[in-house]
Amino acid sequence: MSFFTEARLERYSRHIILKEVGIQGQERLYRAKILIVGAGGLGAPAALYLAAAGVGTLGIADADRVELSNLQRQIIHHTSDLGKAKVESAADKIRAINPDVTVREHHCFISAANIRDVIAGYDFVIDGTDNFAAKFLINDACVLAGIPYSHGGILRFNGQTMTVLPGKSACFRCVFRKPPPPGAVPTCSQAGVLGAIAGMLGTIQATEALKHIVGAGHVLADTLLTFEALEMNFRRIKVRRDPECPLCGEHPSIHELFDEEPPAACDLKSSQPLTR
């Protein structure tokens, strides 16, 4: 119980008051290790909230440097960070918010070659990437390693997210078998995105991670949550594990990690879930 100094009791008091979090939940958060892949539009708000929440170890994986066009939505990076590695910029902010957090910087592109090592040891992964190849790779790696993760994607005014509990709930491949053909879906850079919806979705992902760690409520397992911000419509779409899923089905064909076609798109829009 020595973790709870006066200052920490006060810092986390609004959590501790919650019946669903309490002292134990806050301790669990401190012991938890969460990886955020992509310190971009989704990863930025997620990282800020998870840091503030007192998650003991936060990993940030990103190979990019901060560009001017990022600043419209990637709120963990400031104008003064232009040119800096995103992992470094994010790590600075996280430490400034909460010195309780240990930050691990993974300054690399994730690929089939390295992802196994990157995700090893984490309790939960947040997918904040901007392309289908990475999303499928994270899904495959997390499912094979048995690490729960939150999928997320945004484009224009739309967002979608689901939480994957490997072996228990539908995985990304159960729903979207494989990436759409290159060019079928525009990327964020072509189609644009309203900055604030990155915040909406990233904070939902952070909430899912926190709920999973403290064991409160129900995560979006077997549920694809989509929203459309122009009319502010939210939809919950029930999805199921697919026995035919090449990754987690009854007769899986994927046993090894591989990279899908090179980064194609930013997800969403025409990539409707398979309906069955």
């Binding site: 006060e10 008051i17 019946k19 002292i23 134990q24």
Partner: protein
């Protein structure tokens, strides 16, 4: 000026000033400070360090000069509006502590005092707003109101009573001021050509309301002071100073019994007569000011005529008029108060009264100036173009600011008014119809004295609570015939506006057959109301229409969280009453219904309500039916409060074994009766016979539990919510069944921490006030 300020007041304000300084520098304990400032009419608002100041206006009287001062003070130091209270006073809100004393001094300079605005004191003496001008009054009671005020506020023992002392004067047997619902009520009457008063004593609203008892059929005018003083002395010597919830004069009357009360009273009265106490010195008859000339506004419009017919009436003084100015919820904007004061200044001193409906009434207005008044009033209130009774509804603040509140009556009133307007019926035909709303069964919104009254309550659809209103109707006022409104049913808050419109529409259609609303109520209205309740009885489930689970004006789903446990016990009793009424109704229904599924339902419901009714006294709010029975077993059967023979029945009810309940229906009834009787024997600290101040431990047959080791935390000086956080941390280190003792400050900590702890499922075994703080024992669950 209408009353004489005691010479000592200036020095007392100086003393208060030094107390303020001591408090601000931390040398005076908040509780001690509170005890000194409240009798000054200075209350702290919900927001810390923000105060309201209540100004004494006997009979609602205030001069334009005084009103102007009050409004200017409010502009400088207070909120944007003044508030008119249901005791005809004016209140300044949102005053910062350092500004309180400057306000009191400036009020003093214009002849206004706040002393007795609150606390256990002689409160503002009320009087019919039309006293002195009404055509049908017996005589003008105002001089007695002013003289009695001046006399009583000059007596030191008026500030140290066991509880508040409320006095009212009616100017005719109609008793429009509700004198019979005051601690002491004088009603002007004539006996054999001599003017005097009928006197009522020990009436009151609040918890356990009652109509006053007739103390004197008749007393001479000259004895008004003797009566008020004798009652005050009885109260002072014999009143209950221990329990403020049972301290009002009516509790003394009830506990002493009528004969003993009269005997003690007679002794005091005889003593005062022997001493030949000086009678009241009545203020000189007010002379009307010399005719003034302000430019008369002539308004021949039909708009004006309609307004005039609604709000203006001729006084007994020829050519002069009384004009009612409805003020929505009694909130009068400072600039409107100033405009009114400026308009009235040339017309004299005696031109304004506040009413107990929280409205204003202008008086002594020459007919020629009614047009001016109309122009002014239109700019002050939108109610000026509505039927008069729309503006006479009283609605307390309810759950918006009151900790006892259950519903939001002001939101409901707004919704009702909207619905009435949309119905476009001839509502003027209802003339002086009175509809009042309270946010809980306490009667701050005066629902029990209305033609149609509503009080907030919790209803449940299954286990899901929703806001509802109990419906009372048929109150009668008047010397010798007063009675409180009677309970006729309940309706969901959601359906309330529709309910009101449907009911009043139906009354209008039939009204020609009845002499008055009370006649209608007795002959037909009671049945009509019950039929309407039945029509609205079933509400949709949560998933079908969530609106029923939101109160009017609320943005969050209605819930009991934040009420009940941990709150003042008065609110707690109300919650118990909800189930109690349910139990009583079901017991009656059971006697009339024939065997079948309906009877089975009643049995189920009766067992559930009986088991749930007293759980809250143990700090338990069960969230499911099963939990109700589990907790009932633990707290009432295992503790020995309820006989163990009911255990099989409770277990059967828990597993919904309808056949068992059907076979043992006599036992269900006697269980309900047992619980009712237990409640009847509960004391004000929610203990049952045989329970000591110690925690309600298991009764004799159970082997005594080894004394659990106490962990202790002194959380005095720790603010919310850190005190709760630290309590949780301490509980974390205990195992189930172990106990923790914590010390908490009075105020927000004791109101919030135990409640929050209980909401997490732990048991509050005991909470005791010692000195200025609380010791709370918690058992970990």
């Amino acid at each position: 000026m209408f009353y004489t300020i005691p010479a000592s007041l200036a020095a007392e304000i100086d003393e208060l000033e030094s107390l303020v300084h001591q408090f601000q520098s931390g040398r005076l304990d908040p509780t001690a400070f509170k005890a000194r400032r409240v009798p000054f009419g200075v209350y702290e608002q919900r927001q810390d360090n923000t105060f309201m100041v209540r100004v004494r206006c006997p009979g609602g009287a205030i001069t334009p000069r005084q009103l102007k001062e009050v409004a200017e003070l409010s502009q400088v130091y207070g909120a944007e509006t003044l508030h008119i209270t249901t005791r005809q006073e004016l209140q300044l809100h949102d005053v910062a502590l350092p500004n309180v004393v400057p306000i009191l001094r400036r009020l003093l300079s214009v002849g206004l005092a706040t002393r007795g605005g609150g606390g256990n004191t002689v409160r503002n003496i009320t009087a019919a707003f039309d006293a002195g001008v009404a055509k049908d009054e017996i005589f003008d009671v105002s001089p007695y109101v002013f003289a009695l005020t001046s006399r009583l506020i000059d007596e030191p023992d008026s500030w140290l009573l066991p509880r508040k002392y409320k006095i009212a004067f009616a100017n005719s047997e109609k008793d429009s001021i509700h004198a019979v619902f005051n601690d002491l009520g004088f009603i002007a009457i004539q006996q054999k050509g001599v003017s005097g008063f009928a006197v009522y004593v020990a009436g009151g609203m609040g918890t356990k309301p009652q109509v006053g008892h007739l103390l004197h059929e008749f007393i001479a005018e000259a004895e008004v002071y003797l009566v008020a003083e004798a009652v005050k002395r009885v109260f002072n010597q014999h009143g209950n100073r221990k329990n403020r919830h049972a301290a009002r004069l009516r509790f003394l009357w009830n506990s002493l019994g009528e004969a003993k009360f009269r005997e003690l009273y007679q002794q005091e009265l005889d003593e005062l007569r022997r001493q030949a106490s000086a009678p009241l010195t009545l203020p000189p008859q007010r002379k009307l000011p010399a005719p003034v000339t302000i430019a008369a506004v002539r308004e021949p419009s039909s708009d004006f005529q309609l307004w005039r017919s609604r709000f203006a009436s001729a006084q007994k003084q020829p050519g002069l008029y009384l004009v009612l100015v409805p003020i929505f919820l009694g909130n009068l904007a400072n600039e409107h108060a100033l405009a009114l004061a400026d308009f009235l200044l040339p017309l004299g001193d005696d031109v304004l009264r506040a009413t107990i409906d929280q409205n204003l009434c202008l008086r002594n207005i020459p007919e020629a100036y009614l047009g001016n008044v109309h122009a002014l009033v239109k700019s002050i209130t939108c109610l000026a173009s509505e039927p008069r009774w729309f503006g006479s509804s009283v609605a307390c603040t309810g759950a918006a600011t009151c900790k006892l509140g259950i519903c939001l009556p002001r939101g409901a009133l707004a919704a009702i008014t909207k619905k009435l307007q949309a119905a476009s019926l001839d509502w003027d035909r209802l003339a002086d119809f009175k509809m009042n709303l309270s946010g809980c069964p306490n009667t701050c919104g005066a629902h029990l004295t209305a033609d149609l009254g509503f009080f907030g309550k919790v209803a449940r659809n299954g286990q899901t609570p929703y806001p509802a209103y109990g419906i009372v109707a048929g109150a009668k006022l008047g010397h010798g015939k007063a009675r409180l409104a009677e309970l006729v049913g309940e309706v969901s808050a959601r359906d309330l506006p529709a309910f009101v419109v449907e009911f009043l529409k139906s009354y209008l259609e039939q009204s020609s057959r009845f002499a008055s609303f009370t006649d209608y109520f007795e002959q037909q209205g009671r049945q009509d109301l019950r039929a309407l309740c039945e029509k609205h009885r079933i509400i949709p489930g949560f998933d079908d229409d969530k609106n029923y689970y939101y109160d009017w004006g609320a943005t969050e789903i209605f819930s009991l969280a934040g009420r009940g446990v941990g709150e003042c016990s008065a609110g707690l009793f109300d919650l118990i009453e909800v189930d109690l009424k349910n139990v009583r109704t079901l017991r009656t229904e059971l006697g009339t219904v024939s065997p079948g599924s309906k009877r089975d339902e009643i049995l189920d419901e009766l067992a559930l309500s009986a088991a749930r009714m007293l759980l809250i006294t143990r700090g338990v709010e069960a969230h499911s039916e099963a939990e109700v029975f589990t907790q009932f077993r633990r707290h009432f059967i295992e503790s020995g409060l309820v006989a163990a023979k009911y255990l099989p029945l409770v277990e059967a009810a828990q597993r919904k074994d309808t056949a068992h309940l059907r076979a043992q229906s006599a036992d269900v009834l006697s269980l309900a009766q047992t619980v009712e009787e237990l409640y009847g024997k509960m004391d004000n600290s929610m203990r049952f016979p045989g329970e000591s101040a110690q925690p309600p431990g298991p009764a004799e047959p159970k082997p005594p539990r080894p004394p659990a080791p106490f962990a202790e935390r002194d959380l005095r000086g720790v603010l919310c919510p850190m005190n709760f956080v630290k309590t949780k941390l301490a509980l974390e280190g205990l195992s189930v069944g172990q106990r923790l003792r914590i010390l908490l400050d009075d105020g927000a900590p004791i109101q919030n921490v135990p409640r929050s702890v209980a909401e997490e499922g732990h048991t509050i075994v005991e909470q005791i006030k010692t000195g200025g703080h609380w010791a709370v024992i918690i058992e970990k669950r």
